[in-house]
Amino acid sequence: MPSSRRALLILTSLSLLAGLSIGLALSVGSLRIPFPDVLAALAGREVQGIDVVLELRLPRALAGFACGGLLALAGALMQVLLRNPLADPYVLGISGGAGVGAMFAILLGLPVLGIDGLAFLGALSAMFIVFGLAHGDGSWTQTRLLLTGVIVAAGCGALVALMLAIAPEHKLRGMLFWLMGDLGQSGQWWPPLLALGVALLLAMPFARELNLLARGMMQAQALGVAVNRLRYAIYLLASLATAASVTTAGSIGFVGLVVPHLVRLATGNDQRLLLPASVLAGGSLLVLADTLARTLIAPQQLPVGVLTALIGVPVFLFLLSRHQR
């Protein structure tokens, strides 16, 4: 249990980091806009480049922050739900389902709204299929849930590969970018941000119960947690948070896996601090990665999912080697 002063310190510094990362995202790009001008533009004053800041970069930065936060939150919740530190938001097949929906939409040549809609539908279908199958005999143990998720994800992967194989040449690039995760095509910025706020608000009242759940279902039940109800709620919440993020920006990898672990190193494993800290850290990380993705080899843009994976893989391997005491 971290002291309240330490908790406040961590959350304040992470909020600062979030502010800085968004500031940087607004300032950096093919058109460099100095920080004071960014602030002036945000305040509504007429400066050079105000359109770029307010209409291009700000929505993208906010969408990126929301997606990063959603993924980190969903990852932290999945790790508790499955009592497995290696779980991530995609382990139960949500992104696979969304991928199938999105690929199908792109193949049909639907507009952005159609792609988002079918991706969300695919994510929800995967969620219900996994839950329905894992629930089978009414027990839905962690292992059964995990195995069902992995299998459904594999099936979705096959469908996605099939659609890639039959897709016409000119659609392949768009499909690949979606699969790797890309903020460039995200539509609206406010739905994921709203989803993030609601998800965090819903999760926080149960944070101490989640601490107990992480220690074992029976133990949590014995200590007064209504375990089954809590697990349904967490499963639904984490799945919807993942679906919201994947719909906005495709399957951006590693944020949901690595961020909760990085935050744990600093905060310990108290969900009351871990959840909000993960949201702030995940959002900041994705905004920074996206800024890199669109400036690194500008004017060419990289899919941000590639960068998060490139950062995430070595960090995760380091954590894993540290884990074997």
């Binding site: 249990m1 309240s4 790790q79 009592r83 497995n84 530190p85 009242p205 101490r208 119960e209 601490n211 107990l212 992480a214 220690r215 074992g216 029976m218 133990q219 039940q221 014995a222 200590l223 007064g224 947690v225 209504a226 375990v227 744990r264 310990g268 494993n269 108290d270 009351r272 005491r325």
Partner: protein
């Protein structure tokens, strides 16, 4: 005494799959009483205990805590009336010894409450009682089996429920710690009127530290009575299906396998 018993089992039948653990089990446990559950491996002792703890539904029958059923109490109220010591302890995530002990305060705290200094005091007292006072900052994942077991007992003490349901409380413990733990719960029963039900493997310790014994034969039959009537060489030889001889030294009894 007029108060309702700490726990009451009425016509309880329990089974696991095809295996019948007990049929038509009736008993009550008053404050200060200690009951041992004995039986061979796989007889269903742990299953029965988890049913008594309200963590698993019986086939038929009812369990009342202080006159109220688990369904009426809900998990949180139940956690204020009974504590349950799990047989296995797995820690998927790192956490300190003190944090782990403090989870015992959960049923006492409101949704938005944080553990107070008072809660930390209760937890530290419990850690001292099991000899872990110096280890409160250690990561639980680095503890030995015996230390982890004592930590689980400290968490249970921190929960401060009047009824203790202990599934193999002596697992992984050295002899000195075995006696210390049994003395601890004997003291809680004597001084605070706690009730204790424990699954034990050593009949001699059950004889010494419990008032009554419940023998689970593994074929649906059970026997319940005072330890002096239940824990005889004859009964135990039948229970474990191995001949045992009772040896008495200084008013204490031991059972030696032949």
């Amino acid at each position: 005494m007029s108060a309702a018993p700490l726990i009451e089992a009425q016509t309880l039948s329990v089974s696991v799959g095809q295996h019948q653990v007990c049929t038509d089990l009736n008993f009550t446990l008053q404050p200060g009483e200690r009951l041992a559950i004995l039986g061979r491996n796989g007889a269903g002792k742990s299953t029965l205990l988890s049913v008594l703890a309200g963590l698993r539904a019986p086939d038929t029958g009812e369990i009342l805590l202080g006159g109220t059923s688990y369904a009426e109490l809900g998990p949180r109220q139940a956690a204020l009336r009974r504590g349950w010591l799990e047989q296995r302890h797995g820690d998927a995530f790192a956490s300190t010894v003190l944090e782990t002990t403090l989870t015992g305060r959960h049923p006492h705290l409101g949704r938005w409450d944080w553990e107070s200094a008072q809660d930390a005091d209760i937890a530290r007292t419990a850690l001292r009682a099991v000899g872990l006072a110096e280890m409160e900052k250690r990561d639980v994942q680095t503890l030995s089996g015996g230390e982890r077991q004592r930590l689980a007992i400290a968490t249970l003490l921190t929960q401060a429920a009047p009824l203790y349901l202990l599934d193999e409380p002596l697992a992984h413990l050295d002899l000195n710690h075995q006696i210390a733990v049994l003395e601890l719960f004997a003291g809680a029963a004597r001084d605070n009127g706690a009730g204790v039900i424990m699954v034990l493997h050593e009949p001699a310790l059950a004889w010494r530290y419990c008032d009554r014994a419940l023998l689970i034969h593994g074929d649906g039959r059970h026997e319940l009575g005072p330890v002096r009537q239940m824990l005889t060489a004859e009964h135990l030889s039948a229970l474990y299906q191995h001949p045992l001889q009772a040896v008495e030294i200084d008013g204490r009894i031991g059972f030696i396998p032949r």
